[in-house]
């Protein structure tokens, strides 16, 4: 999953990422006093097919009140259609509060994300080779209107995800289209109006939905946790794009009002049956999400401790206020691991020597770049060693060049010498945004690379544009000149299958290195046919194989987010599977 909103916001995040992407030793600097706060692992994803509603009550939780959530510099989703949603912000809010799907992630007391059933009675029943999945829909799940959610409506909702014309940036393009039966031919219920589709079928009497696959898809239960894998009202009632303005809710809250890029208000849904839901709660009367807030203002509110801040939540904090917030808020400053990596991608077709790519990793000034980008080394960014972020099942710790990459210009020069280049001979061409934070970070990167024996040609792009506008455009003349790009990627669920193929498969959109090795492509195909329990380790092994044999990507950092919670907001926590506050457990204490 890309960070925040598709494109525009990826851009914002990626600016920061670019600005701040890095990895490096966190213990060697003598200034690494991070106030005792350390980088958080997200915890390995586990499953519990037996979980049943209602979710256990939280000690001390009370009903009532309004929780205000500030989202600084985050425009939020542009519409609320569950089929189109593929952003950390939108999905984290809607999946927790308003839109139920086949399965869902819950958070146990240790903070681990666990996959549990949601609309379905279990996590789905696959056939032997994972080419057919059957989900039984619970009887006691209802719409906000009080009507029961039927298997037909769930099947229709799932079918919608195949419409890549109506939902071009929906997650269905990545998971439904390639895996579902005839996904490449059937264009969905709106584009292929009236055409029959055999891939998703339902049995009204048994209340089951069956999804047939074109190839084995063992991760269907994870894919079921996306709100796109939930019901939609039949017929015209759910026609896009109007449905996205006010979709019907199935969760504990329903949408009261939504103004894109400004505000979303959700209020208590009386028709939601707690007995049907093993994870969600319904404590607060309403939630108000305020998008695109000013970071400095939000920090002021959250640190003021006034009545407005007591029932408020913020999804980020300015680095300059971190020390103060850490002291003032204590437990209410929550650090949440996000399953995200920041990377630099040397063009595999231009920088062909592995020594040079490794030299780049040694010449990248990790901590300097993080600081210049307003990050907190050791807290919001830590050195990275693999494509799979900490806590992902199967992740291996390996060192592509013997030890953890840190800023070491001498080693960089050595490697360049091995490849036959004098210091200053090898030219790196990269772009950067003229936005001040990105410019400041670029200066550090340039200095690091130059000390490491490279010559750097920088191409500035206007602050209003995203580097992705250039990197992802194969015809852009600036892009054609670059030999170093970057990408910032988050997992869709805790599996290597959402990290490695999108970044390393030949021709993948976000494979900005143009990395292409037949052996790796074959192995990616091969892993999806392996038995489920072997897959995690196989992804880990592939991760290490790519890292040590080809080293196509300089992975600069694993990322963490900081959330702040008001004094009266109960159970402050984040959800590791998506890297957002765990909204469903929040309450206002007396």
């Amino acid at each position: 999953m890309r960070r925040t909103k598709p494109l525009a916001a990826v851009a914002v995040a990626s600016l920061l990422a670019l600005a701040a992407c890095g990895g490096g030793g966190d213990s060697e600097g003598d200034g690494t006093d991070t106030g005792g706060r350390k980088f958080e692992d997200t915890g390995a994803g586990t499953k519990d097919a037996e979980a049943e509603g209602p979710a256990p009550e939280i000690d001390g939780a009370a009903e009532g009140g309004t929780i205000t959530v500030y989202l600084p510099a985050d425009p939020g989703p542009s519409d609320l259609d569950p089929t189109g949603g593929w952003s950390v912000t939108g999905n984290s809010i809607q999946q927790a509060l308003t839109h139920r799907s086949l399965t869902q992630f819950t958070r146990d007391e240790e903070g681990n994300a666990i996959l549990v059933p949601d609309l379905a009675t279990d996590l789905g029943v696959p056939n032997v080779d994972f080419t057919e999945w059957t989900f039984t829909i619970k009887d006691n799940v209802t719409w906000e209107t009080g009507d029961p959610v039927t298997a037909e409506e769930v099947a229709f909702g799932i079918t919608r995800s195949l419409d890549s014309t109506e939902f071009p940036s929906g997650p269905g393009t990545e998971y439904s289209k390639p895996f579902f039966l005839d996904g490449d031919k059937y264009e969905g219920p709106y584009t292929d109006k009236g055409k029959a589709y055999e891939g998703v079928t339902f049995d009204a009497d048994a209340n089951t939905v069956t999804i047939a696959m074109a190839k084995p898809f063992p991760d269907m239960d994870y894919w079921g946790s996306f709100m796109a894998m939930g019901p939609a009202p039949l017929g015209d009632a759910s026609n896009p794009p109007d449905y996205g303005k006010k979709p019907l809710s199935t969760g504990p809250y329903k949408v009261e009002s939504f103004r894109p890029e400004e505000e979303l208000v959700v209020v208590r849904n009386d028709q939601w049956d707690p007995a049907s839901d093993p994870s969600r709660h319904q404590y607060a009367d309403s939630f108000v999400f305020k998008f695109n807030q000013d970071q400095a203002q939000v920090d002021e509110i959250m640190l003021s401790g006034n009545s407005e801040s007591q029932t408020a939540v913020s999804t980020s904090i300015g680095a300059d206020n971190y020390a103060q917030a850490d002291e003032a808020l204590g437990e209410r400053l929550v650090q949440q691991g996000a399953q995200c990596i920041s990377t630099l991608t040397p063009d595999y077709t231009k920088i062909t020597e592995i020594e040079v790519r490794k030299a780049l990793a040694w010449a990248y000034p990790y901590e300097d770049a993080w600081l210049a980008g307003g990050e907190l080394p050791g807290v919001t960014r830590i050195p990275a060693d693999s494509y799979m972020p900490p806590g992902m099942a199967g992740k291996k710790d390996y060192f592509a060049d013997g030890e953890q990459f840190t800023f070491n210009p001498e080693r960089s020069k050595e490697l360049l010498a091995e490849a036959g280049y004098e210091p200053g001979e090898y030219e790196i061409t990269m772009l950067y945004s003229e936005e001040p934070v990105a410019t400041a970070t670029q200066r550090q990167i340039k200095r690091g690379f130059e000390e490491g024996g490279f010559t750097v040609t920088e191409i500035p792009i206007p602050a209003t544009q995203s580097p992705y506008d250039y990197w992802l455009d194969p015809d852009n003349k600036i892009n054609k000149r670059l030999n170093l790009r970057g990408v910032n990627w988050c997992s869709d669920w805790p599996s290597g299958s959402t990290m490695i193929p999108p970044l390393l498969k030949t021709g993948a959109v976000y494979n900005t290195a143009f990395f292409s090795e037949a052996a790796v492509d074959e192995e990616i195909e091969n892993i999806s046919t392996l038995p489920l329990e072997e897959q995690a380790d196989a992804w880990g092994a592939l991760d290490e194989m790519v890292g040590t044999e080809y080293f196509p990507t300089v992975i600069t950092a694993f990322r963490n987010d900081l959330f702040t919670f008001g004094e009266r907001v109960g159970s402050p926590a984040g959800l590791g599977s998506i890297g957002a506050p765990y909204y469903q457990n929040l309450y206002i204490s007396e």
Partner: protein
Amino acid sequence: MSGMTTGPETLGALTDETVVDSNSTKAKAISGKSPMRIALGRLLKDKIAVLCAIIAFSFILIAVLAGVITDLFNVSLAANRPSELLSFTTGLPKTGPPNNGFDPAHPFGLAPRTADDNLAYWVYGCRTSLIIAGGATLVAASVGIVTGLVAGFLGGAVDRVLSFLIDLFLTVPFLLAALALAPIINERFATDPNYFTIQRWTLIAVLAGFGWMGVARLIRGEVLSLREREFVQAARVLGMPTSRILIKELMPNLAAPIVVSVSLMLPAFVAAEAGLAFLGIGVTSGASWGQTITKAVPFFDNYPLFLYLPMIGITLLVLSLNLLGDAIRDALDPKTRR
């Protein structure tokens, strides 16, 4: 500047010097003074004007000697290493302001996050400001004077065309045009190795392009009233070529409005340059006061000095140039009495 021209024949009579007997020796001394010398004399008696001139001149010195000053304090614009100089938790410097005492290695302190030296950036920011404002003033004043002279003196169709041009430029909103031009220039020249030089010249061109109309209108108005005067008529009758009339007869009489408008244009451009840099469409690399202000705003709570430095620089420079301009206008205007 709507006052009448400061012709030599009026200056003597309306000056605030005591009127003396025209046969005395003192009278002979006065009669030898040119209008400019009289104005200079008045200016030197104005304490505020002298102070402002000194301040403005010091800024010019700082800009010219930026390299010497930074060498003297052993600081530079080069990127420092934030991981060595800054605290990991706050992004603020470990030595010097805001949390520690004076640090002789960095007299103005270090910038948060980037660990850039504030003194070096301030001094070079001054240079950027003055180069761009000075360049823009030079261009705008030249274009404005030539246009105004030609339009006013030739009249007729030429005047109508030039006046239309002036009106046309006045209708284009400056900020909008600057915002629209920045990405266009970037797209055209981003890959050029001289991008930053080009960027500076563009900035001068944009500032001048939207700054010349005021001067042109002013000069045109002055010329319109001057060209009907006897000495111009006489020159025409004698068959002087137009260029000679413009340069030898009209220009000296326009000295006052030109000096005044130039002295007020300079501070306006200093402020505009900083404003554009603040919006991210001016100078994007190297030192610039406007850019430093953008960076410093979020840190005002924790590190006010970082914002104060460029603010003080801009305020002092603009204020002193403005007051100096006002004083020059007063000194040149025979009707002001103090």
